[in-house]
Amino acid sequence: MFSCKMKNFQSIVFFLGFFFTSSVFAQNFTISGRVTDKKNEPVFGVNILLLGSGKGAATDFDGKYKFNVPEAVAETGQLRVSGVGYKTQVITIKSRSVINVVLEEESKTLKEAVVVGIARPERKIYSPSNSTTIQFSEIKQAPTPSFTESLQGRAPGLQVTQSSGVPGAATNIRIRGTSSMSASSDPLIVVDGIPVISGGGGDGGGGIGGGLNLGYQSNALANINPNDIETIEVLKDAAACAKYGARGSNGVLLVTTKKGSIGSTTFSINYQRGFQDVTNRIGLLDNKQFLSVMDSAYFNTWNKNPSNSIKRPTDSNYPRRGSYYTFPSAAAFNDTLAAVTNTNWLDKLLQIGIVDELAISAQGGSTKTKYFISGNYLRNQGVMIGNDFDRIGGRFNLTNTVSDKLQIGIKTYVGFTKSNQVPSGGGSNAIGGFGAAQYNSLPIFPVYKSGGVTRGFDQYGFNPFFNAYGDYAGTNIVLSQDRNYASYTEQKITSTTNIFADYKLGRNISYRLEYGIDIFSQINKFYQSRYVRTSEIDRFIPQSSVGDSRVFFNNQNLNNIINYSKNLDEKQVLDLSFVQNFQNTLSFNNGARGEKLPNDDTRSLSQAERALAPRSGNETQFKFLSFLGIANYKLKDRYLAQASIRYDGSSRLGQKNKYGFFPALGLGYILSEEPFFKSINQISFLKIKGSVGQTGNAAGISNFQSLGLYSSGGNYAFNPTVVPRQIQNSNLSWERAIQFDGSLEFGLFRERLSGSIGYFNKTSYDLLLNLPMPPSAGIQTSYFVNQGSLRNSGIELELNSTNVESKAFTWKTNVNFTFIKNTLLGLGELSSNSLGSLDYISLKGNQISTYYLPKWAGVNLETGEEEIYEVIKENYAEPSSPYTFTGRKIRPTRVGQIDSNRISMADKPVMPKFFGGFTNRFIFFKNFEVSLFFTFSVGNYLLDQGQRKQSYVNGSNNLRADAVNAWSQTNKQSDYPKLFYPNAPNTFGTGDEVPNNFWYINDPMRFRNTTRFLHDGSYIRLRQISISYSFSESMCKAVRMKSVRVFAIAQNLLVFTKFPGWDPEVVGNLGSNAERNLQIGTTDLDFPQLKSFTVGANISF
């Protein structure tokens, strides 16, 4: 069977060879030799490169190499010999055909890292596909829990947004745009060849749940120690993703951890300490302003000033009005106390965060065995009091050359994180935290009791004005941040082990087996004492509660790989790979809650007297099987071709469509290798390349999405029930994308200026679209179909320039830009669809989601009420039709009236027009370096829902500081609408009939977002300034060190933006894939990014 296949391949190769041999080629001069270390041991994997060309070779296990250079440079050409752990040498050929090299060991110096960080990685020269390699060890500078945060602005086409500044919060990663609507748009993340559980809607099968919603998603990748990572490769086009093809529609992040290097053991110690603070603070009303604003709202509502008997709502005589605008009725609270209390709750919540990170590693080895051992400890005391994040992890990577034929290795990592959490977003269910501090914690409330208060739990010293008795909807956040009263912890354990064996079957053929097991376990626990909550069953009775939820993933991968590589003749090289991959991922989760613990010290679920719903449990599994054939062909070192075909199956898809074919083709041409180019000295490297291919996506849908399912529906009168949950969908198929990619890579002026410019066009079709079912179907509310299409097209630009290079001073610049145009091409049966949110709509021809908001018409200067522009109603039925206004402004009196005047706002897009990063590095005397790194994102708009919440009197909430300028009888020229009490009855009597004018006329506005809260979200951020000093080699030697480096880093020092909210860099608190694809523009009191200042040292010996 195999030999038969070989014959076929030979004929293909013959055909390809015939095709290409018609090209002209120059005379060649062959150089060969052996590379050894000082002990005369052969060195494997050393790069030998002819400078000024892309030509080169790497040494084999025996340290031997051989390659051709053009006759023209046989005398003057220079070879650059470089290997990790050795000093780089440059050797002039001088027409020698045998050049043996003895390498000198070198500790890993700063310089090499710096150079590698910017230079084009050599091994990609011969690939026609489009990917960007990030030397992670270089960019990973400030301590961050997760490596994903460091990637922002580092590669064209890669867009990374951290959801908030909370340590361990998830990041939203997009490679070349959002390419799905209801399914996942997250890239596949592969660590050392094995796809990992990334959580947050990745290929782990949906977001990793657990516990309460604390306002942000936690990040499964935060468990991996960023210090272990050597490189991260961003695979972008179809050809590059071929190896992971069927899941490559969203791109692939290929993470490679460090290997050992030959030589004596090198120990590295890296210690850093950082100090963090929020980047921005929103001004809120202080006590005097708050009381004055409330008095004014009172007047506006009832047209009279608060009198003595019914004064401010803070007066204890003011009638109780339930959860709306009720203020403490506790006897001790009164106007006098309110007037003298001015609590800044944000100050009570926030502190200076501290991050400590210690990373120790040892690496070394001989030609036979190489190893890398590392340990890492990170402790982040969060900016929110009570919030912390700890990680401890260890890695062991080992490769061993057993014989000439066999190489084996293992890469294993165990990481444990523990985080005490504090609720962060405005929409979170938990008690207290960042949302509460700025929203329903009022400046007139003291933190601690004053004299004479005897109610509730005041023996603990906290004020009793907001408490579990329902006097007031808010929370004393100081109380809820105290772990004695409320705690939320998350613990995660990650263990990944990859083993491989590489066996040379023959001269040109080898077999490689890779097996990886990735275990991820997450436990979330919460405790809420009886001081912060009331019973869910016995209304208004304070009762403690505990909860526990667990998630467990077991992800196994098996790769069988056959590699065939042959120099067909002097000019042609052919590499063939056959890969078979099998992935099997199981996950379990369960959760339980209970209430009524026997006393305040008990926090065990088993002690809870009553179980609370939901008690959940689930077990699910998916499998993935694929076969891949990939051929790389290189002719005369300049004509490149790569063709691949995959056959992939996913267990999630319908019985009829489990498998799909995914071909890809890439072609490249290195013009600078042409003889006629050699004379152009200015151009050292020039390559054009292009690829086309198809990729797939089945991530982010439920594992059993295609099956008809029934499950227990609880009991009916003691009898068990079974109810239908989901209808069968055996046609459910792959979401597919066709990608075109064309780019030009260049190196000018002896690589002083290099870069690339490329165009891509990725059309996703057969989208896995979660369409709503008619309610008359009587079963699930939505149904996945393969319908609709969208396109991401754009231009990627990268420039690396060495502006000045001398012994005393070097200045390097790197800039990357990505312009992406995202277009919805069709929605199948639907003409438009909100897919889950009132504020967004999906319209053909626009971005996949467009803001769909009432257009705010400002304030009626006579009445102080808000107005919106009225839309011609005939168009309302069909949101895709162009909107026209009637020319009238209306004052909405009910929510429906607001909703029926929404318009789509294509001119204020949800996604940015372009984004990127900009780095400048200044190196003085090779050991003092300053670098400035900017990131930017331009053209998107943000909907600040938090601003809406803080712009109305909703009951018991604080407002943003600009509320002092609100419209009033004495301030009629304001553009801030008049404030008034919500839901206000005009009498306090209790009659038989509903009072007249029950709703305040303009009241519904507080329920709906309008363009009043839509702001330009463009920003430029000075993400990082770093200063480092490396001690010279002689100084290091004097203290028996290999290298010593000290550094200081400042992050997020400045941001230039028009956005008036907390932070323009936000993805909101979004759970489902559809939300993360479509509703990324909404921010709701989300925790902002952090600025930090870090100092640290790297020492190796």
Binding site: G506, P724, Q728, G778, T781, F998
Partner: protein
């Protein structure tokens, strides 16, 4: 080299041969395994009953919505001030376009229908593989239950979303969407005519009456073959048939209604006595798993009765709409207004007001859904024998005047039951007074009695439409509304007004292209 290759291809072969991508759910039942034996049918029909418990079916909506349009209900301002305004839109009929309950009632009712359709198709198409033992008897009974529940849901939907029978009943899209097969995909279907839906309801209920056993419905949990109560029986189907024909309000249908009402009232197999022996008010539902003997069909509203949660909470929302024990912090939304006692002419001693309602401050609440020991009701009656007596009385008030008078008096006698004895009916309400009335006045007495007897049981709106259509009487403009600026301007709506139709949910219109809105 060779062994490695063979291993490799062996693995390859193995993967190809044994369907490596078939993964079976562990926590759910794949559809292939859902219909193996008669027990699977049993749990499936239980699922249909379970959906009936929803707050959007008998958990609250079908009992509450038709009554809060009524003349004797008002909104509690205290509840509104506490922000409990969720159902105010129901009260304000004009808001029907954006009114969430209309969507939820629609969705949850079709959930019951889809579950019934699964059972019906499984039995009719012989999908059950294992048909041994008592299969046929059980399958017949289960099929009958599915027919009965399906018809019940179609009838309830039709009464809210379509006009009274007699208005455009043959016009396309005048009815609701009639689905007789379980949902298997995302499809579109137009609304049937009102008549087509009625025809189907009658077919289903007659088939249910044929198939269902005569066991008395659930006086205690261990009847009905050892299962708990709250299940459809032959008499439940027949009682519903009487109600359905009566609602149509034509002479021909009244004949049918009378036939089925008599069949249930006069049956000796499992009689439904209208008596007050249970103490208190006879028709009050109970929370101890039993029903008043006069209840012909009830929905059991227990959730997880075997856990310790059952006794402290209940799925029903009826209590929060109509009666709350926790008055100060969580007041009842709907109250009985002055008209309930004055205009309807209650007399002292009527247990339906002395025991059936309570006054707190100046506000009157019903205790109908209070249940025992101040706990929320656990069972919700769907139909009880008093309604059949009222149906019979109204149909016969000319043709069989004596029976009408007897039926009305029987209800009154029961209502005035006190101190363990009957015979407390005041003279102005007794047989002699009734006998002296003219036919028209007798009809007014019947209708008044119906209003009192069935108050807050989900009859009022339907009653209003039927009476207006049957007698063409304008006295029955009972509805009031607020204008679009939410001012309290009462506006009576005629019985055939489009404004009192529930609107077909937007979610249906946007996903089912063939569906059309109500005018």
């Amino acid at each position: 080299m060779k062994p490695i290759f063979s291993t490799f291809f062996l693995i390859l072969f193995c993967f190809c041969a044994c369907k490596p991508l078939d993964v079976e759910p562990q926590f759910e039942i794949p559809s292939e395994q859902a219909f193996n034996n008669v027990n699977d049918l049993e749990v499936m029909v239980n699922g249909a009953y379970q959906a009936l418990q929803s707050a959007n079916c008998y958990g609250a909506a079908y009992k509450m919505i038709p009554d809060i349009f009524a003349d004797y209900v008002t909104v509690n301002p205290a509840a509104l001030r506490l922000g409990r305004t969720g159902s105010l839109s129901l009260f304000n009929i004009y808001q029907r376009q954006t009114f969430g309950s209309a969507d939820n009632v629609w969705r949850d009712s079709y959930t019951v229908i889809n579950r019934c359709n699964l059972v019906v198709v499984a039995v009719l198409n012989n999908l059950i593989k294992d048909r041994t033992g008592e299969y046929q008897n059980n399958a017949d009974r289960i099929l009958g239950e599915a027919y009965c529940l399906r018809a019940l849901m179609y009838f309830e939907l039709l009464r809210l979303y379509a006009h009274q029978y007699g208005i455009n009943e043959n016009v396309p899209n005048s009815g609701i969407i009639l689905l007789l097969k379980p949902t298997t995909g995302r499809t579109s279907q137009a609304r049937a005519t009102t008549k087509e839906v009625y025809d189907q309801i009658e077919i289903d209920l007659k088939e249910a009456a044929r198939l269902l056993p005569t066991d008395k419905r659930a006086t205690d949990i261990f009847t009905y073959g050892g299962r708990a109560g709250g299940r459809a029986t032959k008499y439940a189907a027949m009682a519903l048939l009487a109600r359905v024909y009566f609602q149509k309000a034509t002479d021909a249908d009244d004949v049918q209604a009378l036939f089925y009402a008599n069949a249930v009232i006069n049956n000796t197999e499992t009689p439904f006595p209208l008596n007050a022996d249970t103490g208190g008010v006879a028709y009050l539902v109970t929370s101890n798993f039993r029903a008043s003997p006069s209840v012909i069909f009830q929905v059991s509203n227990l959730i997880n009765p075997l856990t310790n949660e059952a006794n402290s909470t209940s799925k029903t929302l009826l209590d929060s709409y109509f009666f709350q024990t926790d008055e100060t912090d969580f007041p009842t939304i709907y109250l009985l207004n002055g008209r309930f006692t004055s205009a309807l002419g209650f007399k002292g001693g009527d247990q339906r007001i002395t025991i059936g309602t309570t006054i707190a401050g100046s506000l009157r609440y019903t205790k109908k859904y209070q249940g025992d020991n101040l706990r929320p009701a656990i069972n919700v009656p769907v139909i009880r024998v008093a309604e059949l007596l009222l149906i019979r009385a109204e149909i016969s008030y000319v043709s069989n005047r004596q029976q009408t008078i007897d039926d009305i008096f029987q209800i009154r006698d029961n209502a005035y039951f006190a101190n363990g004895r009957r015979g407390n009916v005041p003279p102005e309400l007794n047989v002699a007074t009734l006998s002296a009335l003219s036919a028209d006045d007798l009809l007014k007495e019947i209708i008044k009695e119906r209003t009192i007897e069935l108050n807050l049981e989900g009859d009022r709106l339907h009653h209003f439409k039927r009476v207006a259509k049957r007698y063409g009487n304008d006295d029955f403009k009972l509805l009031r509304s607020y204008d679009s600026r939410q001012r309290n301007i009462s506006k009576d709506l005629p019985w055939d007004s489009d404004a009192i139709l529930f609107q077909i949910p937007d979610a249906e219109i946007s996903t089912n292209p063939l569906a059309v809105r109500n005018p």
